[in-house]
Symmetry: C2
Subunit: 148 residues, 2 copies
């Protein structure tokens, strides 16, 4: 991984260059991190959300395998390195102001992107409406619904 330690991303320049240009100038926050959204390359479902530092972003671009920065462990993290549920990135995008990245990915191994053993981290719905706001009870979705 040493080869990526010194990866240098473009410096932030003008609003116009950032929004309408071809130069990748990702914005890292005060902690040196950029948010990363991961969706399933097949279904489009959101699988997980995590953070990348410069090195994780560089390694993801270089290898096509998703890497993140674990804020809780304060460590670089190749997703699935223990479980085998690695993420093979089919496409990476960034947004208008280049402060988020979106990865389309296939989940390798058992296809479980969530550490709870589910295919996605987003297995619960927040009901909508005035009554729901008074209640704030989550509803399990999809394959998990029948287990409740």
């Amino acid at each position: 991984m040493a080869a990526c330690k010194d990866a240098e991303f473009g410096e932030r320049t003008t609003k116009d260059a950032i929004e309408a240009g071809h130069s990748f100038q990702p914005k890292f926050d005060a902690d040196g991190l950029i948010p990363a959204i991961v969706t399933d390359a097949g279904t489009g479902d959101v699988l997980m959300f995590a953070w990348m530092n410069r090195q994780a972003l560089a390694l993801t671009i270089k290898t096509g395998m998703a890497h993140f920065w674990s804020r809780s462990r304060a460590a670089l993290w190749k997703k699935g390195s223990d479980s085998g549920n690695t993420l093979s990135v089919t496409e990476m995008r960034t947004d208008c102001d280049q402060d988020v990245v979106w990865l389309r990915a296939n989940v390798d191994g058992k296809g479980l992107a969530c550490h709870t053993g589910r295919s996605s981290c987003f297995y619960r719905a927040v009901p909508l409406g005035d009554a729901a706001l008074q209640n704030l009870q989550l509803r399990f979705c999809g394959e998990d619904e029948s287990k409740q």
Copy 2:
């Protein structure tokens, strides 16, 4: 909106309750914000990424229309209130540790979720691979590709 000012979300309790329970206990960061991913209810494409404070989250649940907190303007923001491109939420989900929300939504008005006048904020791809890392040039996608 006053009715939502005092909306109270569940206090964070145990890891087990947060990951496997029915009680919505969203985690707001040190700035009182939670990240929100918005995907197109039809195509599954990621449309935008923004932040919500407690009031924006409560209003989104209550009304089914996406509200956010603008960090640059330090103001509550009903998405599309000026442009007409409001977001009608069809489903809201939260993730395993309840520190992100994901909205499936239909874009009203002209169907343009991005302030640049595009349907999605994620209109540029970051090419992958070792050579791409040395270059870091974005590629415009879809309808924008032919305009380059």
